[in-house]
Amino acid sequence: EAGVTQFPSHSVIEKGQTVTLRCDPISGHDNLYWYRRVMGKEIKFLLHFVKESKQDESGMPNNRFLAERTGGTYSTLKVQPAELEDSGVYFCASSPWTGNANYGYTFGSGTRLTVV
């Protein structure tokens, strides 16, 4: 089965520009998550979709970040306008809906975003 696909793998943009990251989860996985790791820090939760609905967006840093999951398939994370502190690796992960406790996520390889 295909894994979680993220693109681009790298993005370098200037402060104030807009960037859109995309995530294609494993087919049939209802849960989709976005996480971010800033250099040397822990991986931090951003938000969680169940199908096309936002289940938890408590980790979104501010309103410059907008996540969508149209049709419950792929998801996009847009940063507009980008700031220097947005630099980091953005991971997407997916998992099946089990209705019962936790199962391991499958992570994508991440998008390394550098804002200069």
């Binding site: 939760f45 969680h48 992960a93 406790a101 936790n102 992570f107």
Partner: protein
């Protein structure tokens, strides 16, 4: 406020030795404790996980030890091999019966196994 604290930040072990990484958590509602392994250029991959109703779980050379009263858990890698060189993350969540929940990660440990 960091809810899961991981140590050490980096670790060098000789081939064949035992690698030990420790994590401590604060939220007593956590009920799922996975460890993830990440190689350069790849995303984290689930290695092994434990629930608080057991004190130890072993899968091959990898063992999780869990101390509920101390709110600590650790990863032991026996007979460490150069191929184990990677970054390891501990994590925790409280999924309960509501399905998949967000993970709270530790800061990561960069493990190097010298041949």
């Amino acid at each position: 406020q960091q809810q899961v604290k991981q140590s050490p930040q980096s670790l060098i072990v000789q081939k064949g030795g035992i690698s030990i990484i420790n994590c401590a958590y604060e939220n007593t509602a956590f009920d799922y404790f996975p460890w993830y392994q990440q190689f350069p250029g790849k995303g984290p991959a689930l290695l092994i996980a434990i629930r608080p109703d057991v004190s130890e779980k072993k899968e091959g050379r990898f063992t999780i030890s869990f101390n509920k009263s101390a709110k600590q858990f650790s990863l032991h890698i026996m007979d460490s091999q150069p191929g184990d060189s990677a970054t390891y993350f501990c994590a925790a969540s409280n999924g309960g019966l509501q399905g998949a929940q967000k993970l709270v990660f530790g800061q990561g440990t960069r493990l190097t196994i010298n041949p």
